[in-house]
Symmetry: C2
């Protein structure tokens, strides 16, 4: 009765059913077996989870931990540092492992959520100065280059560790992802440049004054 992924008769399952993704992400951090404090969890989330999943605020991590403990999926121990200064170290419980395994096997994967602020700006490029757009694309590309390098470093650090094979794989995945982002951004950048170059003559945007033209946004 250690791990029963398919046991829908498990009376706890209905309590796990509506937990948000973030809860599972935090429990997932604990599932690597290391007891950690909320503060350490936040640092780890920033360093690794942030590559592919929004890193929650510190205060939220603490409340997630309290929730996990109240549900028996994690347990905490007070560790005294020097004098009276205590810190709370959280560890996953067997029930927590069972829950995670159940989640992996049974819970549908929600569609990935993307809020690509840079694409949004370019999409509304008719309300912006072209140089502003190229600037922000350049910035984005640079940020992604840095992230790709960081992801590579993370991948290399985990590669040799047998318990970290999946994180290593995802770190490599993240590196590819961010390098693709760079390519896509640079592609957009050159398009914006050639567009603004070709419009040096016939300036004066028609959007806003012209009658509604273009593809019907409602009924394509």
């Amino acid at each position: 009765m250690t791990v029963q992924a398919k046991d829908d008769a498990n009376p706890d399952v209905h309590r796990w059913e509506k937990l948000p993704q973030t809860t599972w992400a935090v429990l997932g951090l604990l599932s690597f077996g290391r007891p950690l404090t909320g503060y350490q969890l936040k640092k780890w989330a920033d360093a690794i989870l942030a590559f592919f999943y929004w890193s929650p605020a510190v205060s939220q991590i603490y409340s997630e931990l309290r929730r996990l403990e109240s549900m028996g999926l994690a347990e905490s121990e007070l560790v005294a540092g020097k004098e009276t200064h205590q810190k709370r170290v959280y560890a996953i419980t067997p029930a927590g492992r069972e829950a995670l395994t159940w989640w992996q096997a049974e819970v549908d994967v929600e569609p990935p959520m993307l809020k690509h602020t840079v694409a949004l700006r370019v999409w509304l490029g008719h309300m912006a100065d072209p140089s502003r757009l190229t600037g922000l694309l350049r910035e984005h590309a640079d940020r992604c280059t840095a992230l790709a390098t960081a992801a590579d470093a993370a991948a290399e650090a985990s590669e040799s560790e047998p318990d970290f094979r999946f994180p290593a794989m995802v770190a490599e995945w993240a590196a590819s992802y961010y390098r693709s982002e760079v390519r896509h951004a640079e592609n957009l950048l050159s398009q914006v440049e050639s567009l603004s170059a070709s419009e040096l003559g016939p300036r004066e945007s028609s959007v806003g004054t012209a009658a509604p033209t273009g593809p019907d946004p409602v009924d394509p």
Copy 2:
């Protein structure tokens, strides 16, 4: 005094400062000049915005529209259909254009937010059956292929329209993005497969029972 992107003396600017991205996205939909109802806006958001930005719920679109109108950035007109059945059609105002231009020029771009649920599942692959992982990666790849095709169609539909050059560019960008997603997913998929194949002999996961090993998640 039609458009003053840099006019920080504008007394309205401080009211615009903390508007969430979603508000700008909705106002952006209106900035293409077409007066639209909340319902139409939602459909458009689902069709186009969803490629690169989370499409808000219907009810939220309505409240965003009310907020935009209360701030003078959009205005609505009641249009009577047949008998007493009215619908409210929203249009951007000059102040709305001014606000959008100011936003594009002055407001910092928030970092893109990614919640890649599939990567999260693979990252926690040690708690899952390998066949489950490959299945969900396959599903993800298929979904992305469909999205890429749809983005191509959207790009082609806007390409000829001069007012929709930026949306066309972003649609092309989205097509590339989702095709990269497919490649990355398939790459991960083959890695998961080769990993599970190589572990047919020495099974029994050590994670959870072994003492904490692997890269220090806190202090790298």
